[in-house]
Symmetry: C2
Subunit: 224 residues, 2 copies
Amino acid sequence: MSDDTKAKSQSLRAVDDIRSLIFSGELSAGSDHLESELAERLGMSRTPVREATLILESQNLLEVRPRRGVRILALSADDMREIYEVLTELESLAASLAADANYTEAELSKLRSAIDEMEACVKAGDREGWAQGDADFHDELVHLGGNKRIESIVSNFNDQVRRARAMTLRMRPMPSKSNEDHRKLYEAIARGDAKAARQIHWAHRSEAKDMLIELLNQHGLRRV
Amino acid sequence: MSDDTKAKSQSLRAVDDIRSLIFSGELSAGSDHLESELAERLGMSRTPVREATLILESQNLLEVRPRRGVRILALSADDMREIYEVLTELESLAASLAADANYTEAELSKLRSAIDEMEACVKAGDREGWAQGDADFHDELVHLGGNKRIESIVSNFNDQVRRARAMTLRMRPMPSKSNEDHRKLYEAIARGDAKAARQIHWAHRSEAKDMLIELLNQHGLRRV
DNA sequence: CAATAAGTTAACGTATACATTAATAAATCC
DNA sequence: GGATTTATTAATGTATACGTTAACTTATTG
């Protein structure tokens, strides 16, 4: 998926593998796992597994609990609020920065195609496809903001809420209004209106945040 | 400074020690250091040193470069811009959240005392003291925001710009206007005016950012 | 029977050994 | 002499060994 030629170190493979196991739910939220268990599972010694867990701990995907194994982190509603507050704020800043950058239409093509894709998926009732388009749109938006630190924080936080988002994807109504927001945001960026871009995206994200938390509450999901 | 009773692991000691060495400049920005060198310096084997470097790498304080040792990260003007963009944004959000929280005067006492201290230090011409008060003020502000993720990001980014801030502290004029901003922000938070709190802090931080970058440029500090 | 103490287990933290391989130096070739 | 190949070095990545000690069991006591 990532590289063929250059052999990755076991530690990095462990990071990737454990991440995948977390995202797929094979290591479920809240569960505990011993270093030796993970080492055996991944076919390597404890050393690279330990290194991987340290990295993943600093990414807030798990918690190293001496003698009790690593615990896969579960998010509370309050955690979701915190994460979405930050995501909302930083993505809005990125939108504002992107508008200030005065990109050409050509440079904004990825943004447009993501919007088009989402629109097609909404019509076709393809939730998974829409989610992919939405992710692409947000990634590209943040990228256009031109601040690598924002990219990195947003990417990390998105990792953390991945499971929750996947769950709510099936529970939420088809995101039809969402695309209007995206188009309006695109327009604002294209005409270099930073203030508008920021406001539009802020409102967009705030709604998404409220819906997510509402859905989790409705379905009694205390921790995900 | 942190704990007497419970013996910390060597790895955590290594994290603390290396951080100190970086902040003090003993490990200067841009310099390279082998694992074995650090291990000997800290009086431990490579294992805990390796673990520490992984943690510090994910905190963006250094970079692990296989076979060339760890490199202490130096920040460019662009890095500073990125960091301050994020700090400005997240601290402003924290200010807004703090205003929304409707704290009592009592709960805002730390904020007030930090302001008082800064004022006293400005009068006395005590730069170091002022910087401490400023740090306290910002820490408390972010804390009042009630979002642990913001606290953690802000704390990490502050670590990263610590050296640069220390350098410019001696070069900048005495921060007299700064305190007006702080008082105005305090007022806004006290009366629960989130919008104003956000704006005041945003402007305050933006000025600080511009001054810092300007100072670094003036003094020809390409990387710090 | 509850509470405490002693004993056992095993997970971790750390040191160490060692194979691998990038980086450097030396040697060779046009 | 410059470029390329070969040899050397040494820093790393990983496995493993092992002492320490928290967590768990069992035994003991009031």
